[in-house]
């Protein structure tokens, strides 16, 4: 059984260093703590440049924090052994703002899905096809897109493909970084409802990052604002 709290971010700070000779530091955020419960959604909001994406990348293990710890199922992710780290990187996935940029422009959607199945160790083609079909049904994609390239699909379809690719990995946490900001309102509504359905069906936890407070309020169980004047969870 899954623990109640899947991930804990403890007193995390991030400073970016720049300059070749005189190294300077720009502090982005300091001492942020929050926890992601199993099956729940934590929303992170704040103005542009406040460090929302950096915090998301730290939680996904893509960049290290300058201070503090990120615990996944009680273990510090930056002190994990290789096997544990590989499991963590599979089970905690990140979805980005620009869906087309997140997909390989040179590969058809079918090949991109197949590549994920192979990475998961699935050698049986029939089983891989079955799993891809399940994910496509879940994300509302039709078969005809398998032979198409990302630039031949709409923004909403590409975001569904990006979500499908993440779902193939059977994640426990998805970090969603402004997943609908490049989409128009009607497609945004479709993707948000889809994310809610998938969360209910698969019991996945979300860390949802957006500058749009109305959207964060709609999606989240708990909200963490990174704006300095209202830095509080509510």
């Amino acid at each position: 059984m899954l623990p109640l709290c899947l991930m804990e971010i403890q007193d995390v700070s991030k400073t970016f260093r720049y300059g070749l000779i005189k190294r300077k530091g720009r502090s982005v955020f300091n001492n942020i703590s929050l926890s992601i419960p199993s099956g729940g959604t934590v929303g992170i909001t704040g103005k542009s440049g406040i460090g929302k994406t950096s915090l998301g990348k730290i939680a996904a293990g893509i960049i290290p924090p300058s201070k503090g710890h990120v615990l996944y199922k009680g273990k510090d992710i930056f002190k994990m052994q290789k096997a544990e780290w590989n499991t963590f990187r599979t089970k905690v996935q990140m979805m980005f703002q620009d869906p087309e940029g997140a997909l390989n422009p040179m590969k058809t959607i079918g090949r991109q899905f197949n590549a994920v199945c192979r990475l998961m160790g699935e050698k049986d083609n029939n089983k891989a096809c079955k799993r891809i079909q399940e994910v496509m049904d879940q994300t509302g994609l039709s078969d005809e897109i398998l032979d198409r390239f990302p630039n031949e699909l709409s923004g909403g379809q590409n975001q569904r493909v990006a979500l499908g690719r993440v779902l193939l990995l059977e994640p426990e946490i998805i970090i969603l970084d402004e997943p609908t900001s490049a989409l128009d309102i009607s497609v945004q509504a479709q993707i948000l409802q889809l994310l809610k359905t998938i969360q209910q069906e698969n019991r996945i936890s979300y860390l949802y990052i957006s500058h749009n407070k109305k959207l964060i309020e709609f999606m989240s169980d708990t909200i963490f604002s990174m704006d300095k004047d209202e830095q509080d969870s509510y």
């Binding site: 103005k47 542009s48 128009d184 009607s186 945004q188 959207l215």
Partner: protein, 312 residues
């Protein structure tokens, strides 16, 4: 008085295998001094209309209809005539500020450049006029901003610079293509304030292309709703937001956060193979038999136009 008159505009793009029917028989009147918001989902042809007005379309385009500006049909104007109109009489604010600005040119010079090109003004005088324009638009820390490069500023600030550079020649019509796309709340508010301010000060007409409902509600006089290359409804701002008439216009309002993000059922139309009759009928909850076979006429009700059999 009509400032820009679009009559039966159809635009198609020929790609390798298919033809994209981007705009289908669109007629629109844009009166002087008004702000008209052209709204609809991505790929419905909003930006194609904007680019047709200034004739910035790729070579594989087939364009039919008429676009009258000051009594001249822009679709029949020569490239030389168009160069005089672009920027000076009709300015276009493009949707990606990061790409629309020159990354290796200082912002002050970029705002001043239209004056040098169109009015043959010396650079020094042009930069000083650009400074005045930035001052009018309440840019803070003006001295540093004039000498800065685009990468030193946020998307919102760069978008304000593009607006300033399009205003510097006092154009009669400004076309703003998704001016708030990708900006956060604060930057969106700044751009909204800027556009409202310009409208008040200069009296220019503004054709706003957007899917940002907050922006349209704030500054538009009239709203035109587009779907799959056609205009489905045109109404006064307050009337539209109080009670949209066309089923697509109503469904679009339901997708808003305040209405609970309710999605429009069904997939969007493939522009290479649009349905016959009303283009919204495959997704419309009120469709009748006629909708699949016949294009609905444009019906006028209380000063607003709707293209739907429900009101025939």
């Amino acid at each position: 008085m009509s400032c820009l008159h679009i009559k039966n505009l159809s635009v198609q793009f020929k790609t390798g295998r298919d033809t994209v029917f981007a705009v289908d028989r669109v007629s629109l009147d844009h009166t002087g001094g008004e702000t008209l918001a052209l709204m609809g989902e991505t790929g419905c042809g909003k930006s194609v209309i904007a680019n047709s007005i200034v004739r910035l379309l790729p070579e594989n385009t087939s364009i039919k209809g008429e676009i009258f500006f000051k009594g001249r049909d822009l679709l029949k104007a020569s490239e030389r005539e168009l160069n005089q109109i672009r920027g000076q009489e009709i300015a276009i604010v493009l949707q990606n500020p990061g790409l629309a600005l020159n990354p290796i040119k200082k912002l002050g010079k970029q705002i001043a450049e239209p004056l040098v090109i169109h009015k043959k003004m010396p650079w020094k005088q042009a930069v000083s006029q650009a400074e005045q324009m930035m001052n009018q638009l309440r840019f803070t820390g003006l001295k540093e901003k004039i000498k800065a490069y685009p990468f030193q500023f946020s998307g919102g600030m760069n978008q304000r610079v593009i607006i300033a550079s399009s205003m510097v020649l006092d154009p009669r019509v400004i076309i703003a293509d998704e001016p708030t796309k990708g900006l956060d709340m604060e930057a969106r508010k700044e751009v909204m304030r800027e556009l409202a301010d310009i409208k008040k000060r200069k009296g220019s007409s503004l054709l706003l292309i957007t899917h940002d409902f907050d922006l349209s509600r704030e500054i538009a006089d009239r709203i035109a709703i587009m779907y799959a290359g056609e205009i489905m409804e045109i109404a006064q701002n307050k009337k539209y937001f109080k009670e949209p008439l066309h089923p697509y216009a109503r469904a679009l309002m339901q997708s808003l956060p305040e209405n609970g993000f309710k999605p429009i059922p069904g997939p969007p139309v493939a522009m290479t193979d649009p349905p016959r009759g009303c283009k919204f009928h495959p997704r419309c909850p009120f469709r009748i038999k006629k909708c699949a076979g016949e294009r609905p006429p444009e019906i006028t009700i209380n000063g607003r136009q709707v293209r739907c059999f429900l009101y025939a």
